[in-house]
Amino acid sequence: MHEDLLAAMRQSIADGDQDAATATANQAIEVGLDPLVAIDEGYVPGLSYVGSCFSSGEMFLPDMMLAARAMNAAMAVLKPELAKRSQQRSVRGRVVIGTVKGDIHEIGKNLVGTMLSASGFEVVDLGVDVAPERFVDAARENNADIVGVSALLTTTMTGQRTVVESLAAAGLRPGVKVIVGGAPVTRAWAAEIGADGYSEDAVGAVALATKLMEGAAGAAQG
């Protein structure tokens, strides 16, 4: 059922075609396709495809931005329909992100935010130059599963350690996971400061966040 439509949805995201994404979303409503099916079997696989092409070097960052934009266009059509049906897209996790204190670089962080929310995470973006206490407060207020801490400079990345420590001091660890990123950040650094993960790019960040959520679910069940 609706296989052609779902394929067109996937294709619209792969092409980064906003108009096609909007049109297929409208079509879904017309033919009575469950919006959750449209999202999970139509658009999201398209986004995953773009993500994997980016990771393998076949696609470029602008391709990914276009895909995320097309995703948002489809969501703009489908959200009212979800509300009408009293349905909710399942939230894959709540993530608080920000750039560390003393650092006002934001492009990498924004990119991670875009990819996470396009992939179904709820993202609270604290912006740049964020003090450790604000990460702690926001994590608590938003009942965050994950805190993402960005730093571009070798001189500010030490602030990532401070955020990990502050969350621990506030009693939020290890329940709240911490992921770190930024040009100078490495896996070894993430391990050294006791973060739960690191990713080189925004696509990896989605995979990492997904893995951490699965781990958390496993832990809760276990």
Partner: protein, 478 residues
């Protein structure tokens, strides 16, 4: 001082008309879009001078730019640690040195990429001191065993102790810069002596052309007030923080450069500001890496700096490769050659691998050889009577040998001879172990380090310098 002139016709990637166009675009950006300056004093200085402001948002009128360009110095001389003039940043010259703050060292003895130590830092500085073609020092590595907040002080102390070459200094917070300059003043024999013969230039990276951070602006104001030389280098990345085209990013970046020029000249007319000889670069949108050896933006920023006639700081000699290999040598050679031919003046980042994240001493030695080659390839040609040796030609006639003439014996060393590149016969190369360039570079590093003893600071001066590090540690509660 080395004769660092570049001869022949200038290589200029932009014509004067194109430079004027980029300048006009930058001025227009400052008038229309303006910038956010996160240091209130900078905003106040501009407002007082007639700029329109709204909170931290500043629009800079053309008159302020014109006035500042009229007083910004066209030449800056950096001295060495002993107070002798070492580099004049002016005209079509080419001075080469390393980069700063690598997070990793590729150990040429083991082939392992690891966290650098203070010993790596000291070795690297001694190597740069010994390498004949490198003109200045930067901090090379962040030593892993010291507290990250104070690494800049440790680096400065190591540079002051380990070389007499001029220093391009990077610090974190303004307090780190003040400590580093205080150390330099101690070495020079006081602030007055340092101001008269500065041997340290402070490198200030600016977050974005139109978004300038607080500590960056504080450093500019502090240095301009004292008339100490500094490098004002906004970072605009095509495709993310700037237009994806080289020209677009160059023009936007130039708006950020002009802000620094205006501010510095308002604080002190003639304040010695050095502008970027690189700009218009872009993030690699496939890998998200900030490449150091991309070809696209090679040259235009340098052409623009020459068009203004302002002293410049260039970027070449670094590689995006991970090891010392064909790629690292090719990228170092190509980037250094273009920047030298452009007259890139103060040119940093020799020895960088992995897009500036890893440093290698073997790569540094290869860069020294490349710089040596390029200098021989761009040096002005002597066509004086003496050089043409017409008298010898007449005397020796059609079939004479020039091998034993006084002219040959006097001047044969003017020709370039390699220190690392192999020119021997096949048998000779084989007999010497059939080595690669990277192997010979590693051997040269070890030989130089074994033989070279940098000129030490006087013990009381070294102690006074160290005291500044200790005081900073105490203030940080360490």
């Amino acid at each position: 001082m080395r004769d660092a002139r570049v001869g022949g016709s200038p290589f200029a990637r932009l014509s004067p008309e194109q430079c004027a166009r980029v300048h006009e675009a930058a001025v227009g950006i400052l008038e229309r879009t303006g910038a956010r300056l996160m240091e209130p004093r900078a905003v106040e200085i501009l407002r007082h001078a007639g700029a329109r402001t709204d909170g931290d948002h500043v629009w800079i009128p053309r008159e302020l730019v014109d006035r500042a360009l009229a007083t910004a110095p066209r030449s800056i001389t950096l001295h060495d640690r002993t107070g002798a003039p070492a580099m004049e940043l002016a005209g079509r010259t080419f001075w080469a040195g390393p980069g700063s703050d690598c997070l990793h060292v590729l150990d040429h003895r083991t082939g392992v990429r690891r966290t650098p130590t203070l010993d790596d830092l000291r070795e690297g500085i001694a190597l740069v001191d010994a390498l004949p073609e490198l003109d200045f020092i930067m901090s090379l590595f962040i030593p892993g065993e010291v507290d990250g907040r104070l690494a800049d002080r440790w680096q400065m102390e190591a540079m002051l102790n380990g070389t007499t070459k001029p220093v391009v200094m990077v610090s974190y917070e303004p307090s780190g810069m003040e400590d580093a300059i205080a150390m330099a003043e101690v070495v020079a024999g006081g602030p007055e002596a340092f101001g008269a013969r500065p041997f340290v230039a402070t490198y200030i990276n600016v977050t974005r052309a139109l978004l300038q951070g607080r500590s960056e602006l504080q450093k500019l104001l502090w240095l301009a007030e004292r008339g100490y030389p500094f490098l004002w280098i906004p970072v605009t990345s095509g495709g993310t923080t700037g237009p994806v085209t080289v020209g677009g990013t160059l023009a936007l970046n130039q708006a950020g450069v002009l802000i620094g020029i205006v501010l510095s000249q308002l604080v002190r007319e003639g304040a010695p500001i050095v502008v970027p000889g690189f700009g218009g670069d872009g993030l690699d949108l496939r890998t998200m890496v900030d490449p150091y050896a991309a070809p696209d933006a090679r040259g235009p920023a340098g052409a623009l700096a020459h068009w203004y006639g302002l002293p410049m700081f260039s970027l070449a000699g670094g590689s995006d490769g991970k090891v010392v290999d064909e790629q690292s040598a090719a990228e170092a050679a190509l980037t250094l050659l273009v920047d030298a031919a452009s007259g890139g003046q103060l040119t940093h980042d020799c020895g960088y691998l992995e897009s500036g994240l890893t440093g290698s001493l073997a790569q540094m030695a290869i860069c020294d050889e490349i710089v040596s080659w390029i200098r021989a390839a761009t040096r002005p040609i002597d066509v004086s009577d003496e050089a043409l040796a017409l008298a010898d030609v007449d005397a020796l006639g059609i079939e004479g040998s020039f091998l034993e003439t006084d002219h040959t014996l006097d001047r044969y060393m003017e020709r370039w001879y390699p220190a690392l590149f192999d020119r021997g016969s096949f048998e000779s190369w084989q007999g010497h172990g059939a080595t690669t360039l990277a192997q010979r570079a590693g051997e040269r590093v070890d030989a130089l380090l074994a033989a070279h003893e940098p000129m030490p600071l006087q013990p009381d001066v070294a102690a006074a310098v160290h005291e500044i590090v200790e005081r900073a540690a105490e203030a940080a509660g360490l």
